[in-house]
Symmetry: C2
Subunit: 233 residues, 2 copies
């Protein structure tokens, strides 16, 4: 058996638009979920709808994907720059009406993009920071470039799923935090490279922010859901 490794399985998934999104974790877990990337605001998680009022001014949408957040923010009169490392995402977001999208990694954001009032990372996109160390380094780097970050993540400690608990334990044995996931996107015959994706508890988030110049302004949480949105300033 062989697996063809072709970059941008994610983009092809967005181009086709049917889903589901299949994520493979490095313990072999496959998870499949309906595509969130095109969801109209009415079908967003309630905490993201609430988070919209924290998004002001000129906005950077990190991991613009299919453009659901960028499009909603444009409708609300915001000026939005969307970035993504997926060529397919860029094409799809542009075709759907996001006016300024760029093929660019979070790591490469600098003053050439101008100053942002708000950086938006919906849909667990806080995870794009990758690891606690990387998050700390990047947050410090982003400090002069933006006034506020509105980022979604999931508290790994609220899961009772045995497969997840075993993965957390395995991570701890390796000196990683529970929510330091290593995952890749699979789509039909396409497989994206493995990447680090970080989910954090509120306590872990606070620890990461230490020394970065950022602090938690508020946490938007939702009963019964591990997903929450952090507003950082």
């Amino acid at each position: 058996m062989y697996v063809r490794v072709v970059v941008d399985a994610f983009g092809q998934m967005l181009r086709d638009g049917t889903g589901p999104e299949i994520i493979e974790r490095d313990d072999g877990l496959l998870s499949a979920a309906k595509l969130i990337y095109f969801a109209p605001v009415a079908r967003w998680p309630a905490v993201e709808r609430r988070a919209l009022r924290w998004v002001r001014g000129r906005v950077l949408d990190v991991g613009v994907g299919g453009g659901r957040a960028a499009l909603e923010l444009q409708r609300r009169g915001r000026s939005v720059v969307g970035i993504d490392v997926s060529q397919g995402a860029i094409e799809v977001a542009r075709a759907r009406g996001v006016r300024d999208v760029r093929l660019q990694a979070l790591e490469d954001v600098d003053e050439s993009l101008g100053h942002f009032d708000t950086i938006v990372m919906f849909g667990n996109n806080f995870g794009l920071f990758g690891s606690p160390g990387n998050a700390q380094r990047l947050l410090r780097w982003l400090r002069p470039l933006a006034d506020r970050i509105v980022a979604g993540t999931s508290n790994p400690y609220l899961s009772e799923d045995p497969a997840h608990l075993a993965y957390h334990e395995r991570n701890r044995e390796r000196g990683r935090t529970a929510g330091q996931l290593r995952i890749r996107v699979r789509y039909r015959e396409l497989t994206d490279p493995w990447f680090d994706f970080l989910i954090v508890s509120p306590d872990e988030l606070t620890a990461i922010l230490e020394g970065t110049g950022w602090g938690v302004r508020t946490l938007l949480e939702q009963d019964g859901s591990p997903y929450y949105v952090a507003v950082l300033e």
Copy 2:
């Protein structure tokens, strides 16, 4: 990365009941589909609804799965024995009301189960014959055990999908028919063993039947779909 091989990913998928069903092919293709295993008759493929009137008398349901066919046939007054190699399928089919279900492979069907008027293999379950050679051998074996077989399969040559066409070509290079698939079920952290699953065109079906004592009574086909149901006598 490691993959835990645990038999009965399929059964666990049925127990949980949410799907989607993820099938991995040995070229790395992942396909995801809504669970068909609990579908009420109104949501079956039209050709299977038409095929119901060819199912008479005492029935063997091969690959009973979640019991959708067996339950509908029971409702129509048929006496049904369901077999499956998945312990989870057996449990689920029984819990949903299939009265006679047994953990048994198609290969192990013999006169101890009694004589059947009809063997039913809906949902592409003709594929459980595995390969043309195996199909021929088993069909010959089943000849004295049943009067009719009503089996669903898909014509591989109606696909225009490049991934499928490449797979067909690869199969031909290896001396296999286009539709000799090698697949496995993946569900969350569980992975079933690889198995052979055969889909055939009507011509290939006719060739397989030669010398088995079975012939095609009728083919139930559907415009625009590769899926069809063969009635063999």
